[in-house]
């Protein structure tokens, strides 16, 4: 229990925005930048913006979730942290589960807050914003889980940042379809499916990630 608390504390110190050299703030600024640029690109047409703005927020959220992937696990593997944890009987699965929690905490809630100014920038109304926020709450754990799995799979590869970004995108398509799809139908069905996908991904992440990190040791 002691060790788990120490791990979570270290992970949060690494990943929460503003705790380390400000690098972790970048995904949020990136997200807001997407929302800000979109009206410039599409033109000041309120109906068009309001109809498509929710989807843009989703795409921005997906891209923002990709940004921190390269330093999510690779540094700890290279510096021998995972070896030392394994020797102490702390399994890779436990470390990955804690890392997933810390990763989500470092961007999920902040993204939901940043969606408020972003919604003003793309001009969507209160009801749509409500659906977007609920969708983000249901979908960001899944995005975090995909990110952790991909980061674990690409852990042994040099220059893995661009590759992991590319690998995340197809896996994130279901979350995007149901999460952003809930906007047009306005129904709870899409949100429920998004949450179900997230739950499944969160459940398999520790095992997939742990196995990937162990496999990287053998190479």
């Amino acid at each position: 229990m002691n060790a788990l608390a120490a791990l979570l504390k270290r992970d949060l110190a690494h990943f929460l925005p503003g705790t380390r050299s400000g690098g972790t703030l970048l995904p949020l600024l990136f997200f807001l930048a997407v929302a800000m640029l979109y009206p410039f690109a599409i033109g000041p047409n309120p109906t068009l913006l309001a109809a498509t703005g929710g989807g843009v927020i989703w795409v921005g959220a997906l891209l923002a979730a990709i940004l921190p992937l390269d330093r999510l696990l690779a540094a700890d593997v290279q510096q021998g942290f995972f070896d030392q944890w394994a020797l102490r009987g702390i399994s890779e699965e436990v470390v990955v589960a804690i890392r997933l929690l810390a990763h989500w905490l470092s961007f999920g809630p902040f993204l939901m807050v940043a969606a408020l100014p972003a919604s003003a920038l793309v001009g969507i109304d209160g009801e749509t914003l409500h659906t977007v926020e609920l969708g983000l709450l249901a979908g960001t754990p899944g995005l975090a889980a995909i990110g952790v799995i991909i980061a674990a799979i690409t852990v042994g590869l040099r220059g893995n940042a661009a590759l992991s970004g590319l690998l995340v995108i197809p896996l994130a398509v279901p979350i995007l379809i149901f999460g952003a799809g809930a906007l047009s139908t306005g129904g709870e069905g899409g949100l429920a499916l998004t949450a179900a996908i997230s739950l499944l991904l969160v459940a398999i992440t520790p095992f997939a990630g742990g196995a990937a990190i162990r496999a990287a040791r053998e190479s």
């Binding site: 608390a5 510096q79 021998g80 030392q84 020797l87 053998e218």
Partner: protein
């Protein structure tokens, strides 16, 4: 110190397409030390990782009784943190403070790990390993980058560890001065 034992039977190690060594067996009881000697590329580090249980041997089995501590070229300390806080993370997991004074690190606690020299990093890693309180020490090139004083200090620490009933396996191409230590030449098991 708790009872410990380390034995390996009929170990073979393959890296890529190459079989590095085979039919290697060893047995260490409490208080014993073994140096694994041999030129670079013979598989010393791989053998250490096999003994640690981090690498699966191509053939053979390893049995360990007691926790193993590993010292290799990766210090496992957060680069941007001051040394004191980087070691404090391991203290909180091992529940035992790393012995900073004994390794001459007391003046460096406020220095970020990334500014430490190779030798200072090595000493910090040794402090982390001692803090783990493991009976089996697996040392991969422990003397790399250490100056003469630090070398004799490390030899002294390993001697104390074995005196207290611990096991030490030292993979090194350099001479390691330790009384009663056996030497195993890895090239004898090469193919």
């Amino acid at each position: 110190m708790e009872a410990c034992r380390l034995s390996a039977k009929d170990i073979a190690c393959r890296r890529g397409e190459r079989l590095l060594f085979a039919s290697l067996s060893l047995k260490l009881e409490s208080g014993e030390a073994l140096q694994i000697a041999g030129p670079n590329g013979m598989g010393k580090s791989s053998l250490i990782r096999i003994l640690a249980g981090l690498l699966r041997p191509f053939n053979g089995t390893v049995e360990r009784e007691g926790m193993a501590a590993l010292l290799d070229e990766k210090p496992a300390l957060d680069e941007y943190l001051p040394l004191g806080r980087a070691l404090a993370f391991w203290d909180s997991i091992d529940r035992e403070p790393a012995p900073l004074d004994r390794l001459g690190l007391a003046d460096l606690v406020d220095v970020p790990v990334r500014y430490l020299s190779t030798g200072q990093r090595k000493r910090a890693a040794i402090a982390r390993m001692i803090g783990q309180q493991a009976p089996i020490w697996l040392l991969d090139e422990p003397l790399n980058g250490l100056d003469r004083d630090a070398v004799s200090m490390t030899e002294e620490l390993v001697a104390d560890h074995c005196q207290a009933g611990g096991i030490a396996v030292i993979a090194s191409h350099q001479a390691f001065d330790l009384q009663g230590m056996r030497t195993m030449k890895l090239e004898e098991f090469a193919l």
